[in-house]
C-alpha cells in the first residue's frame, strides 16, 4: 500500500495498478469468506464466523488509503479488515482453525485476529470495544511525533455504545489522527438499525466538531476517495474524521443465521446482491473504461483462487498448539 496521490483522487482518476490491486483485494476477501463458510458448514472450523461478504469495498477502499504502518482496529466481522490491511491468507486460515501457525498462535480466533506487523491492533468481540484502542493509538502516534493515522472500523450497532462518544469527544478536543469508519450494514445483529438509532448518524460526529462524510460503501473508488480525504486531513494534523459507509452483509449475522426471513426479506438481499455488488461494480468500471480486459480480471480471479486453496490446505494440515501453549502469554 502506498499513500494515494491526492490529485488523482481529486480528479476522480485512479492509477490502473491501484484499481487492479483493489479488485484483487475485493476478490481475495470474497473468496476467503466463501471458503470460511464452507469450512464452517463442513464442521472443519470451530466456533463462530461473521462473514464480511457484501461489505468488502469498505475495508478495501479505506485500507488502500492507508500506509502499512498506520493502525486499524476491527470488529467481530473482521476478516475483511485484516486481509485489506495486508494479512496473508494462509496464516489467517490457520488462526481461524485454531492452529499454532495462525497470527495469534490459534489463541485469538476469528473474533480476535490481530496482525501487529501490518498495524492491525485486533478484531474485537465487544461491539464498540475497540474505539478506545484506535483513539489511543492515534494519541500515541501524535505524542511520539509520527504521522501515523489510526482507523477505527465499527458497525452501526456500535452507535449504541457510550464508549464511542467518549473517545470521539477526546479525539476532537485533542485533534487526534483517527478516522472513525462506521459500516452501516443496516442490521444490529437481527434488528434493523432504524429501530435502534435515533436522529441523523453523521450529526452525531458533527456534534463533536468532527467532519463527517457519507459514502456509498459498495463503490470501492468512492470509499477510497472519501477515506483518502479523511486520512490526509488526520495525517496533516487536522484531527479526526468520520465516514458513514452504506453497505450490506449478504449472509446472516453469523454463519448459523440462515433463516433471516423474520428480520429481512429475500427480495432485499437479492436486490443488493444483483444491483450493488462491490466486486461486480469495480469489474464493470474497469472493463467499461478499458482499463483492463476480461482476461486480466480472470487472471486475478484464478490467482486468488489458487492462493485461497493453498491457504486452506496449509491451515488444515497445520498442527494445533501443544498443551504447553495454554498458559503462555497470560503475562509478558
Amino acid at each position: 500500500m502506498a499513500a494515494p496521490d491526492t490529485e488523482l483522487v481529486a480528479a476522480g482518476t485512479l492509477e490502473p495498478e491501484r484499481l487492479l490491486r483493489m479488485y484483487r483485494q475485493l476478490v481475495r476477501i470474497r473468496l476467503f469468506e466463501e471458503q470460511v463458510n464452507e469450512l464452517y458448514r463442513g464442521a472443519k472450523m470451530p466456533g463462530l464466523a461473521h462473514l464480511y461478504i457484501g461489505e468488502e469495498a469498505v475495508a478495501v477502499g479505506v485500507c488502500e488509503a492507508l500506509r502499512r504502518d498506520d493502525y486499524i482496529t476491527s470488529t467481530h466481522r473482521g476478516h475483511g479488515h485484516c486481509l485489506a490491511k495486508g494479512a496473508a491468507v494462509d496464516r489467517m486460515f490457520a488462526e481461524l482453525l485454531g492452529k499454532e501457525a495462525g497470527y495469534c498462535r490459534g489463541k485469538g480466533g476469528s473474533m480476535h485476529i490481530a496482525d501487529h506487523e501490518n498495524g492491525n491492533l485486533g478484531a474485537n468481540a465487544i461491539v464498540g470495544g475497540s474505539c478506545g484502542i484506535a483513539t489511543g493509538a492515534a494519541l500515541s502516534a501524535k505524542r511520539r511525533g509520527t504521522d501515523q493515522v489510526a482507523v477505527c472500523f465499527f458497525g452501526e450497532g456500535a452507535l449504541g455504545q457510550g464508549l464511542v462518544y467518549e473517545v470521539m469527544n477526546m479525539a476532537s478536543l485533542w485533534k487526534l489522527p483517527v478516522v472513525y469508519v462506521c459500516e452501516n450494514n443496516l442490521y444490529n445483529e437481527y434488528t434493523h438499525y432504524a429501530e435502534t438509532t435515533a436522529g441523523d448518524i453523521p450529526a452525531r460526529a458533527r456534534a463533536f466538531g468532527i467532519p463527517a462524510e457519507e459514502v456509498d460503501g459498495q463503490d470501492v473508488t468512492a470509499v477510497f476517495g472519501a477515506a483518502s480525504r479523511a486520512v490526509a486531513h488526520a495525517r496533516e494534523g487536522g484531527g479526526p474524521g468520520f465516514l458513514l459507509c452504506a453497505t450490506y452483509r449478504y449472509h446472516g449475522h453469523h454463519v448459523g443465521d440462515v433463516d433471516r426471513s423474520y428480520y429481512r426479506s429475500g427480495e432485499e438481499e437479492e436486490t443488493w446482491r444483483t444491483t450493488r455488488d462491490p466486486v461486480v461494480g469495480l469489474a464493470g468500471q474497469l472493463l467499461d473504461t478499458g482499463t483492463v480486459v476480461e482476461d486480466d480480471l480472470a487472471a486475478v480471479d484464478n490467482e486468488v483462487e489458487a492462493e485461497i486453496a493453498a491457504g486452506v490446505e496449509f491451515a488444515l494440515a497445520a498442527p494445533f498448539p501443544g498443551p504447553a501453549e495454554v498458559d503462555k502469554h497470560v503475562y509478558v
Binding site: 480476535h112 501487529h116 470495544g129 478506545g132 489511543g136
Partner: protein, 341 residues
C-alpha cells in the same frame, strides 16, 4: 563494599504516601518519555487528594493530561496508547468508578497479550483507590481489588507503606502488563521512611512487616497498619504476631505466606475487601492447602462486612476490620478466649 548507615539515612526521608506516589511518578516521567498520566483533574488540580500536585508544572499538559469525566474512554485510550509504544498511568479517582472501565480492563487490556499470541502487549497502570471510613458512603468507599485479582492477565498491587507505594508504582510502570494499583485514600497522609531515587519493589514479593512466632497475620494495604497496631496490643498480652504483607495479589508470593504459617501454626488473613468471595478467601485457601500439616487451628479471616458501605459514621465503622477486632480474633485463634457464638 559497605555503605555507612549515615549515608543510608541521608538517602531516606520521611514522606507521606501521597508524596511517595508523586515522587515515583515524577522519577518515572523523567526517566522514560513514553510515560504519561491521564485522568480527571490530574493536572492543575493534582487530583482531589492532591497526590499529583506539581507534576504538570514540570511535565506539561501533554504528559499530565486532564481528561473529560469518561472513565471507560480514558481506559480505552490508555490501552491503545500502551499497545503502540507509550506507558500510560490512568488515574481513576475512586476505585468504585472501576465499574465504568470493566470492559476496557477485563475484556480488552487483560487479554491483549494472550489473544494476540504474544504479539501485542499492554503496559499500562490504572492508579486508583480503595478504603472506607471517609464518610463517603456506598459509591466512594469500596475496596474492589479482588475483582481484578480474579482476572488472569492483570496484576494487582496494594501498597501498605509510603516506601512500598513508591517502589511498587515504579515497578508497575516498568512492567509490560496491565497493573491495577490501589492506594488506600485514608493512607495518603501516612508518613514513613522512603528511599530517595531508584527504589523499585518487584511485583510478587511479599514482605514481613513484623516478626513473631505465635501467630501470622497476613494483611493487605491499610490493613497492614491495622495489623501492626493489633500486634502491639497482642505483644503486651504476651502474643507475638508476625505480620506479612503480600504487597501484590497477582503475582502472589504464596511461598512467603506459607513459610510464615508453617512457622507460627496459626494464621489470620485480613483485607478490606468484602469477606464473601474476597481476597481473604483465596489467601486463606492457599495457606490452608500448603501449610495444613503445620497448622494448629483453621485459618481465620476478616474482611469488610458484606453490606454496601453506609454513610452514617457509627454504622460505617462497623463494616471495616479494626485493630480491636483483629486482637479479639487473634486471641480466639490462640485459644486465649472462647469463640463467641
Amino acid at each position: 563494599m559497605s555503605t555507612s548507615s549515615a549515608a543510608v539515612a541521608e538517602q531516606t526521608r520521611e514522606l507521606t504516601l501521597a508524596q511517595a506516589v508523586n515522587e515515583a511518578l515524577a522519577e518515572e516521567l523523567r526517566r522514560d518519555p513514553a510515560v504519561f498520566v491521564i485522568g480527571e483533574d490530574v493536572a492543575e488540580a493534582g487530583t482531589p487528594f492532591k497526590v499529583l500536585s506539581g507534576l504538570v508544572d514540570e511535565f506539561g499538559p501533554e504528559r499530565i493530561v486532564d481528561s473529560p469525566i469518561s472513565e471507560a474512554g480514558i481506559a480505552g485510550i490508555g490501552l491503545g496508547a500502551a499497545m503502540t509504544g507509550l506507558r500510560p498511568v490512568i488515574d481513576i479517582m475512586f476505585g468504585d468508578f472501576l465499574t465504568l472501565v470493566m470492559d476496557q480492563l477485563v475484556n480488552q487490556a487483560a487479554k491483549t497479550h494472550y489473544m494476540s499470541g504474544g504479539a501485542l502487549k499492554a503496559p499500562l497502570v490504572i492508579r486508583t483507590t480503595l478504603g472506607a471510613t471517609r464518610r463517603s458512603a456506598a459509591q466512594h468507599s469500596q475496596s474492589l481489588h479482588a475483582w481484578f485479582a480474579h482476572v488472569p492477565g492483570l496484576k494487582v498491587a496494594l501498597p501498605s507503606t509510603p516506601a512500598d507505594a513508591k517502589g511498587l508504582l515504579k515497578a508497575a510502570i516498568r512492567d509490560d502488563n496491565p497493573v491495577v494499583f490501589f492506594e488506600d485514600k485514608m493512607m495518603f497522609q501516612l508518613k514513613g521512611p522512603v528511599p530517595a531515587g531508584e527504589h523499585v519493589v518487584a511485583l510478587g514479593v511479599a514482605d514481613v512487616k513484623r516478626t513473631g512466632d505465635d501467630l501470622t497475620i497476613v494483611a493487605t494495604s491499610s490493613m497492614i497498619q491495622v495489623a501492626l497496631e493489633a500486634a502491639e496490643t497482642l505483644a503486651e498480652q504476651g502474643v507475638e504476631a508476625e505480620v506479612v504483607d503480600p504487597r501484590t495479589l497477582r503475582p502472589l508470593d504464596a511461598d512467603t505466606l506459607v513459610a510464615s504459617a508453617k512457622k507460627t501454626g496459626r494464621v489470620l488473613v485480613l483485607d478490606e475487601g468484602y469477606e464473601g468471595y474476597g481476597a481473604t478467601a483465596e489467601l486463606a485457601s492457599r495457606i490452608a492447602a500448603d501449610a495444613f500439616y503445620d497448622l494448629d487451628a483453621p485459618v481465620r479471616r476478616l474482611g469488610a462486612m458484606d453490606v454496601p458501605i453506609p454513610f452514617s459514621p457509627p454504622l460505617e465503622d462497623l463494616t471495616v476490620p479494626s485493630a480491636a477486632a483483629v486482637v479479639a480474633e487473634a486471641r480466639q485463634l490462640m485459644g486465649l478466649d472462647e469463640r463467641s457464638a
